[in-house]
Amino acid sequence: MATYFIRRMFWLFPVLLTVSLVTFIIMRSAPGGPWDTDSDRRQVDASTRKSLDAYYGLDKPLWRQFTAYVFGDINSVTKKFSCGMICGNLGPSYRQRGRTVQSILFSAPPLQSFWQSRFGYSLRLGLIALSFAIVLGIPIGVVAALKQNTLWDYIGLFIATSGISVPSFVLAIFLIIIFGSWLHWIDIIVDNWNEVKYWLMPATVLGFGTMAYTARLTRSSMLEVMRQDYVRTARSKGLAERIVIIKHMLKNALIPVVTILGPALAGLVTGSFIIETMFSFPGMGRAYVQAIGQRDYSMIMGTTMVYALLVAVANLSVDLVYVFIDPRIRFEE
């Protein structure tokens, strides 16, 4: 197992390199550039554009810009070598002038902890949304399967259906109107993200789809497992019902659920663009979407790499959890 784990860790490098190369190619083939501000205002003129290009190295050939980003290059203005992505340097943001991508994503405002950085906020929201999805989704799925075709099953189905057929931008505004405007339970404008109550709505909206998916997957694989011999055997042995459910049924039913939850975490951390917009949440999802619109190249690269790393690590953990859930699964050949 340990060798497998180490081998997988080594695989991170080619995966990340491929992602960065592919991203670089599509990013640079999109029309427009970082200095193309919208056309209802004064435009960046040619000589300013030239100095900006020189400063950020955009006047170099494309392959060199890529290697400069990944490995590093000598800055033509400051004449100093700056190490690239392999040293953890995600480059300077072209739009948020003066800031580096890693400081935008990972540095908190002065006097605050890492958890107050944009990545920290997103990570927290993603984890909460994921636990919401697990805490509600799995029990709903289990109950729905055990009580198949009863009222409980239909309630579960109703929740799951609303979870997927209502887009998050709609769910968000509904919740805001209900809990903010009608019931006055919470303020719409959040003064302080350190208060737990403000996290409930964004986390619910963000995790709702995943929760619904988890519930339906749990239900269907529970139904599958319930028909297996070993479950019958366990029951006939006279084992207590809850032990049968947890040890024999749920554990075996979890494979598909675990498979989706790994990447779902990565998606929940970075893919909360709409939730961040609706709840004015200071996370990193908006940074990514905005960067694409603004063609902020290093920001696009940086956020993509962070996401790629999250996905790769999440999928690795999933594979490890497989072995834990089902000891028969072997990865060594």
Binding site: I26, S29, T161, S162, R227, I300
Partner: protein, 328 residues
């Protein structure tokens, strides 16, 4: 605690190989139409499909007709937060340009059904094949294929859509069906990875089971084991995935529109694809105070489709389950 479905063991199901495959379909169909929920789901889907195909005949109004001075009319049965008088011509009211919401919802079913269906089909096909191969072959093949999925997972989808839509919008494929074909291809390329990993996870677990060993022993080919033994046993997550993928894609199409890379809207009433539920919902979200039905009507339609697919999917799963063979 009783498990209602009858149980047969895997050895029994192994015997199925020797039965004729023709009876599989017929038997499954017989079981499917006995399932009331599944039949209801099927009927809803057929109704929506009918609505999509005959949209041009059943719409009460021209969905592109801009009615000056009639923006955000509420439906006749609803008193909204505005003072605007409703007009009985517009059963679900009008949108921000005074177009009939009902007609637009009916037309929207075309794009949304198609966007939900076709990419899902491609996604399932690609994802299942790759996931099966990776899980079954294991080792190096598994590693390479799964690292590929890691790459595609981490792929900046949105950028990819922008590039594809921009680079190919004037090409032949970009013009085909208002850009829909291009959209399908792009959606399928970035979305098959989830299915692939799901199936691979199932296969990893299933291939160690006794019935697979048994099949090996009786000399079944790998291909046969994969598609006749492992696949039917992995159906349930696939079906859930399908039921989720369809609304997911319908909504994703809306979000693409929000970000500026969605489907091309049409100005020509003769066009097949005019608008989508997704873009109606987007319009409706900002107008939630003035005309809530702009949002509610497409949202309800999506919910109905999801329910229908969930019922049908569950029914299909039960009908196709090898352990349910021979039971009625």
């Amino acid at each position: 605690m009783a498990v209602k479905t009858s149980q047969t063991n895997e050895i029994e199901s192994e015997r199925d190989i020797f039965r004729s495959s023709k009876s599989l379909g017929a038997e499954a169909w017989a079981r499917l139409i006995k399932n009331k929920a599944a039949v209801a789901g099927l009927i809803i889907i057929i109704l929506f499909a009918f609505m999509a195909v005959f949209a041009s005949v059943i719409v009460p109004e021209n969905p592109l007709q801009i009615n000056d001075g009639k923006r955000f009319l509420p439906p006749p049965f609803f008193k909204g937060s505005t003072n605007i008088q409703s007009d009985p011509r517009f059963l679900l009211g009008t949108d921000s340009l005074g177009r009939d919401v009902l007609s637009r919802v009916i037309y929207g079913s075309r794009v949304s059904m198609v966007v939900g269906f076709f990419p899902t089909f491609i996604i399932l096909l690609m994802g299942t094949t790759i996931g099966m191969i990776a899980g079954y072959a294991g080792g190096r093949v598994d590693n390479i294929l799964m690292r590929l999925t890691d790459v595609i997972y981490a792929f900046p989808d949105l950028l990819f859509f922008i590039i594809v839509m921009v680079a190919l919008r004037d090409s032949f494929i970009g013009q085909l069906a208002n850009g829909l074909i291009l959209l399908f291809a792009a959606l399928a390329i970035v979305n098959w990875v989830g299915v692939a990993r799901l199936i691979r996870g199932q296969v990893l677990s299933l291939k160690q089971k006794e019935f697979v060993e048994a099949a090996h022993c009786i000399g079944a080919t790998d291909f046969r084991i994969m598609f006749r033994h492992i696949l039917p046993n992995s159906l349930s997550p696939l079906i859930v995935n399908m039921a989720f993928s369809i609304p997911g894609l319908i909504i994703f199409e809306a979000i693409l529109g929000y970000l500026g890379v969605g489907l091309r809207p049409s100005s020509n009433p003769a066009d097949i694809f005019i608008t989508s539920w997704g873009s109606l919902m987007l319009d409706g979200q900002s107008a939630i105070n003035a005309q809530p039905f702009l949002l509610l009507s497409p949202a309800i339609c999506v919910a109905l489709i999801v329910l229908a697919f969930t019922f049908l999917g569950d029914g299909l799963r039960d009908a196709l389950d090898p352990r349910m063979r021979g039971t009625q």
